[in-house]
């Protein structure tokens, strides 16, 4: 009987909470006339450490905009939905934002799965889906109303492959993580390398939960490549691979991605990462704009916000402002917003200059960099 009563009390409490919630929602909509946009981010689960800082950045930008008078006298407001980092979550979230909240612009998602799940629904309802963090090359083709100000994963791979060949490293061993991001970058790297006359001596992969890389590394060692291309999903994983690689006395040239420049790597794996070559969008986190944004974010939300690579924070911040400009120009007419976004050329923001191409993708200038004395140095 006791547990029965407990359960009843819980259910009553929850119902009360729910009704309270409903009442609050009504009040808010009645009081103010807001311009409401939606946002899909992973707010729970494994990807939440990325999703929550991006949500904070978006809120930060919204507060700024509203403090400066909002958009045509109206306040901007974002309704957040959890995309759960999955296609199913992204699609349900988009469906809810479009049908219930009747938004015309959605900021998100973060995980490529979320964006690809939401894209068909946004496209069908002619709602703008603007991702500031998804890199999958498949998003390029996913529709007219789908945009991003984040570079496609495809770009970095080809740049690094060309650099490797220029350094006359033509026999390359690849070690990559089995995730959508890492595989997309790797595929482009491999294709560019093979087309331009290089060869891949070994193509090894590891799953996301691997922590011991000695077996694939030993295979790579015995294959004796000119250089090694390492692609991991997170800086922490990259560091772990590097450490084990150096423990095996392998001193080949390392090619990798922008995680080489992550604070975590430069601090904890300073010796291991020395000399590594990678490509990243021409994005200068020490530029006055970006540095100011980061310091203000840190002051507002603490250090946890910078657990995310700075470029994501900057692109998300810019995305909110871009959406603001679009809404100011067009109101909520999505056809007009679409045309407006396609016409963006050389717009400066905290993430550098942005141009949007015919596919709704960001055209990013890529720079090839090298780690020298624990610092990044541009080589091309």
């Amino acid at each position: 009987m006791k547990s029965k009563n407990l359960a009843k009390i819980m259910i009553i409490l929850i119902t009360a909470l729910f009704l309270l919630g409903c009442a609050q929602t009504q009040n808010i909509t009645e009081e103010k006339e807001d311009l409401v946009i939606g946002s899909i981010l992973p707010l729970s689960g494994d990807a939440a450490p990325y999703g929550i800082p991006l949500q904070q950045v978006a809120e930060f930008a919204v507060t700024e905009i509203n403090n400066e008078g909002g958009i045509d006298g109206k306040n901007l407001a974002i309704v957040y939905e959890n995309g759960d980092c999955s296609a199913k979550g992204g699609s349900s979230a988009a469906q809810k934002l479009i049908s219930i909240d009747e938004v015309n612009v959605i900021l998100g998602g973060l995980c490529s799965g979320e964006t690809l799940g939401a894209a068909p629904i946004a496209e069908e309802s002619q709602v703008i889906l603007f991702s500031s963090a998804s890199g999958s090359p498949d998003i390029t083709e996913s529709g007219e109303f789908i945009f991003r100000n984040f570079p496609s994963d495809a770009s970095s791979g080809s740049k690094v492959a060309k650099q490797a060949l220029a350094n006359s490293h033509s026999n390359i061993a690849i070690l990559s993580e089995q995730t959508d991001y890492a595989q997309a970058v790797k595929n482009v790297f491999k294709n560019t390398l093979l087309t331009d006359g290089g060869s891949v001596v070994l193509d090894e992969q590891f799953t996301a939960d691997t922590t011991d890389f000695r077996t694939p590394l030993a295979k790579i060692k015995s294959a004796d490549p000119d250089a090694i291309y390492l692609i991991a999903q997170t800086p922490a994983k990259l560091g772990l691979v590097l450490k084990q690689l150096r423990e095996l006395n392998m001193d080949q040239q390392i090619y990798t991605n922008e995680f080489a420049a992550a604070e975590e790597i430069l601090e904890s794996y300073r010796e291991e990462i020395e000399g590594a070559i990678f490509a990243e969008p021409a994005f200068d986190e020490n530029s006055p704009n970006t540095a100011e944004l980061i310091s203000r974010l840190k002051a507002e939300y603490g250090d946890s916000v910078t657990a995310v690579p700075t470029v994501y924070l900057a692109t998300t911040y810019d995305a909110v402002y871009l959406i603001k400009d679009a809404l100011e120009n067009c109101g909520e007419d999505t056809e007009c917003i679409k045309t407006f976004l396609y016409s963006i050329k050389d717009r400066s923001g905290t993430a550098g200059k942005l141009s949007i191409d015919d596919n709704g993708d960001a055209e990013f200038e890529y720079e090839v960099k090298m780690i020298q004395d624990g610092q990044t140095a541009v080589i091309i």
Partner: protein, 290 residues
């Protein structure tokens, strides 16, 4: 404008009803603690999409997805027919990891972790199901057929044999019944319907990747079956509705933006715990899991 949102939830409910009732068919009625069910779901999804992309009409791809999943069900039971209980749970869990690994690694066919985007909506005899309402009717019909067939089987003499296999396998064998044949048939049927659900899922979401068929999804389906109660198809249907609708209701709970993700999950968990405290055997459960 509210309609597409409601239909999306209804379609997902139909898909998970198929998935949960077919799992309950093996788990609740026959006592096969099968944690590989989600693998059949994934096999069905990939099979259907790959067949449609190869130019096979959807009307053939849909049952083919079921048959292919059923064939893997046969392979699984072939390997596991001598083990039961916790051991079976472990081996079948292993099976779903194997399938997940294959989906990740067989990149030439499945595109690996990149997944398959842009899956077309089903087209039957020249008619494309594009609207949410028609897709819902289509999924509802299939869910109803699934329930009808499974319900017929569990209430037939064969259904009683299934339950006897669960309660006293040795006794049944003493009576001269071939229990491994019973288990084989049950798992094939169960896998068949999971495959059908997979096909409906893939063409509804229009994007699949191996992560859509991961451990988290097994837990969701298992939760539905346990909350609904073992050996109760009606329970599984009610539980699917509850478990899929609660998170949607929680979307309307106005919470401060920054805690919305974790808070919803906590409330969701509390509700599930409350249901199981109130009804330890699930809503309509008739047997205990041992």
């Amino acid at each position: 404008m509210i309609a597409p949102y409601i239909f999306n939830i209804l379609i997902l409910i139909c898909i998970y009803v198929i998935l949960a009732t077919s799992l309950n068919f093996a788990l609740g009625y026959t006592g096969l603690l099968n944690l590989g069910h989600i693998a059949f779901f994934g096999i069905g999804a990939y099979a259907s999409v790959l067949l449609v992309q190869a130019g096979i009409p959807y009307i053939i791809a849909l049952p083919a997805a079921g048959v292919i999943a059923g064939f893997f069900g046969f392979l699984l039971i072939l390997a596991t027919r001598k083990i039961k209980g916790d051991y079976l749970a472990l081996v079948t869990l292993g099976f779903s990891f194997v399938i997940h690994s294959v989906l990740l690694n067989w990149t030439s066919v499945t595109r690996g972790p990149l997944g398959i985007p842009g899956i077309p909506k089903p087209s039957i005899l020249g008619f494309t199901i594009s609207s949410g309402f028609i897709y819902f009717i289509f999924a509802l019909i299939i869910a109803f057929i699934t329930w009808f067939i499974l319900n017929k089987i569990v209430n037939s003499p064969f259904g009683r044999l299934m339950q006897a296999t669960r309660d006293d396998e040795l006794g049944l064998r003493v009576l001269g019944k071939n229990t491994s044949m019973i288990k084989t048939k049950v798992l094939i049927i169960s896998a068949f319907f999971a495959g059908i659900a997979g096909s409906l899922f893939a063409h509804h979401i229009t994007f699949i990747d191996p992560a859509s068929f991961s451990l988290q999804e097994i837990i969701l389906v298992l939760t539905i079956v346990i909350v609904g109660g073992l050996a109760s198809l009606r329970g599984s249907i009610f539980a699917t509705i509850i478990i899929l609708v609660i998170p949607e209701i929680l979307r309307f709970l106005s919470l401060p933006g920054t805690i919305v993700g974790p808070a919803r999950n906590m409330i969701y968990a509390v509700i599930l715990v409350a249901i199981l405290l109130w009804r330890p055997r699930g809503l309509f459960g008739r047997v205990d899991l041992n």
